[in-house]
């Protein structure tokens, strides 16, 4: 299952680049802080720090960015537990039982459950990835241009159809992104859409466009708020009780395993990600639990199920990204951009020729999950106050960093101008519920899609029946339709689970209110 010689080389990379380990803690802190602030997403955090990684060596850059990604997986659960506000959509299911525990005064234990479930399942997800890399490499080597094209179309369709409430808007966003990605000179030497601007000959700079769409555009919408979120006051934090929660997580191995499997499978499908995985894992755990009636009232299994799916989804999405070069969403799109900045293209050839590096990246992610345990406990101490940062200080500072970050990519003001244009576009798209991530991935994959399509056309001599000679491509198209059906099912299930949970929470609140009124009446 594991290529031992590549594994040994990976250990060599790990120990010969000890300096890069120093980026783990700053990366985790960035991820934790950003994802704990509702309204500022993990994708924004990764987009803002992306230009900084340009001046690191490749391994350090990936270590830093994946640390941000790992930290963010847990960070969102802190406000979810303490304040009933999911820091990111992937922490939504954590609020159901996490906040209920918090109301009972068990917030330390809830945070412990969330932290340890994140750590264990984060490690589990990457261990599984470590095992499947070798067989995956054999499979992806058989992938030709037709198959690559099919996979890219599949990813785009999923991203487009799942990223928005309206499928039509998602598909328009994906198509628009692909067209933006083809601006400039294509591989056949034709130049389109440059408007005579020389900078556009190489196409739209993906990093400034990405920062504009994912970060700056969303930040503009926060201008009307005084605080990013009005939160409750800080709560008392006890390390002893957090550790008690951590230890308690081990009492639910079945919940951890089920959550991990759901997270990995759903995380590997482009466009789905942990925002659905945590809800499905929660719903499945509740459905199969003997004490399902206590879910929503502070059952720790609810927290463990939700967080295990979030943490393990990261391994699943990394598998798709490393093997096929297809990003599953905004965060992995940024990782792909980081690869490209170092002239490395993830995908079949990377996984085959750079296997030690792939193993080293996976091993480092396992280290990150372990370090998260220590950094996470420290973070909990300050987290409850972070959300009370005033917009007037955060917003200008982040926008300045984002602007200079885009200048840092090429040293031209074309970067900041691109950021501005795409910030306006990103704001407008988000305002009317278009999935911004679909546009970003389209910009990243547009050129690759066109190149693979051209190569397929040249290989087939323009005969569409050529696809019948490519069973791999046919299989991918079959998987594409199956996964579209599966994700449509998942979406329906998600909506149903959300509706059920909201109804249950509403019922609980009404019961509480009625009980409170009854007590007051009795006292009166």
């Amino acid at each position: 299952m594991i290529d031992l010689s590549a594994f040994q080389d990976a250990l060599g990379i790990m120990f010969s680049s000890v300096g890069s380990w120093g980026w783990i803690v700053p990366g985790l802190i960035v991820g934790l802080v950003f994802s704990a602030i509702p309204g500022i997403s993990i994708t924004m955090a990764m987009a803002i720090v992306l230009p900084m990684s340009l001046y690191m060596d490749f391994f350090s850059a990936i270590v830093f960015l994946t640390s941000v990604y790992t930290g963010a997986g847990f960070g969102g659960s802190v406000p979810a537990i303490l304040m009933n506000i999911p820091g990111s959509p992937s922490s939504f299911a954590t609020t159901f039982d996490g906040y209920a525990m918090s109301k009972k005064g068990e917030h330390n234990e809830a945070l412990g459950y969330a932290l340890f479930a994140s750590t264990i399942c984060g490690i589990g997800g990457y261990l599984l990835l470590l095992l499947v890399v070798e067989p995956l490499a054999d499979i992806v080597l058989r992938i030709g241009p037709v198959e690559m094209f099919a996979v890219a179309i599949w990813g785009m369709l999923l991203l487009g159809s799942l990223g928005s409430t309206y499928i039509s808007r998602g598909l328009l966003a994906a198509a628009f992104g692909i067209l933006l990605g083809t601006v400039g000179m294509n591989t056949a030497g034709f130049t389109r859409g440059t408007m005579g601007i020389p900078v556009l000959l190489d196409g739209i700079a993906p990093i400034p466009a990405m920062i504009g769409l994912l970060a700056a555009g969303q930040l503009l919408s926060l201008a009307g708020r005084d605080y990013i979120i009005e939160a409750e006051g800080a709560r008392e934090v006890s390390v002893r009780r957090i550790l008690k929660g951590c230890w308690g997580t081990l009492k639910f191995p079945g919940v951890l395993l089920r959550g991990s499997i759901i997270g990995i499978v759903i995380g590997a499908v482009p466009g789905v990600g942990s925002s659905i995985g945590n809800l499905i894992a929660y719903a499945e755990t509740k459905r199969t639990a003997k004490d399902s009636a206590t879910f929503g009232k502070g059952n720790p299994k609810g927290v463990v199920a939700a967080e295990s799916a979030v943490a393990s989804a990261e391994g699943g999405s990394m598998a798709t990204m490393l093997a096929l070069g297809i990003p599953g969403g905004g965060a992995t799109a940024i990782l792909i951009a980081a690869f490209m900045m170092h002239n490395i293209v993830p995908g079949p050839s990377f996984i085959e020729t750079q296997k030690p590096m792939v193993y080293a990246i996976i091993l480092n992610n396992i280290v990150q999950a372990i370090v998260l345990l220590a950094v996470g406990i420290g973070f909990i101490y300050v987290a409850s106050n972070i959300v009370r940062v005033r917009t007037r200080y955060v917003l200008p500072a982040i926008l300045v960093i984002a602007t200079l970050g885009t200048y840092a990519v090429t040293g031209e003001t074309a970067g900041p101008i691109t950021l501005f244009v795409f910030a306006l576009l990103g704001y407008a798209l988000a305002r009317y519920q278009y999935p911004v991530a679909a546009v970003v991935v389209g910009i990243l994959l547009g050129r690759m899609l066109e190149t693979e399509f051209l190569r397929s056309y040249q290989l087939s001599g323009g005969n569409p029946l050529y696809i019948l000679e490519r069973p791999g491509a046919l299989a991918i198209f079959a998987v594409m339709f199956a996964s579209l059906a599966m994700t449509a099912w998942g979406k329906r299930k998600q909506n149903k689970a959300e509706a059920e949970e909201e109804a249950a929470m509403l019922r609980l609140q009404q019961e509480d209110a009625a009980r409170g009124a009854h007590t007051t009446a009795s006292k009166g």
């Binding site: 001046y55 808007r169 130049t191 201008a223 917009t391 200048y407 040293g411």
Partner: protein, 166 residues
Amino acid sequence: MRIGRHTYAIDYGHLTLITLIAVAIFWYLLDARSVSLSINNILLVQPVAIFALAMYLFILPQCFRKVDAREMAKAPAEQDPLSPTLPSERSDMIRMAALGISLGLMVVLLDVIGFDIALFLFTAAAMAICGERRPLHLLIFSLVVTVVAIYGFRALIPFPMFTTIL
């Protein structure tokens, strides 16, 4: 707008956005076709552009809603924690527009008045837009952000940054 017995509300913002996108796509398609009609040029661009324009026609009716239906649609959207709606109050919109304009002015002026002055002015303007009225806070925080950003990025990147004072 009244059509027959029904009153329709037009979402002008949405209509403008998708129309601009459709115009851009249509122009891009024409531009690509004007370069060459070779299959190597329009193999991907043409079908994707046509698909996008078809999506535009599909989305277009969503900009026109019956007034009563629109009011009903608003309520659940406000309750959905997974898709928080962006603020739409007039004062908030003015703030966002002002911040957007400030950002645009800053990126245009970076090479004209220098990174330091542009960043300082933008930070102060953004703070004021977000509600900061105390002059000392405006001055000190903007200065700190400018100095840290300029010296921090100078240490990080190999490209020169045109500055007037720093």
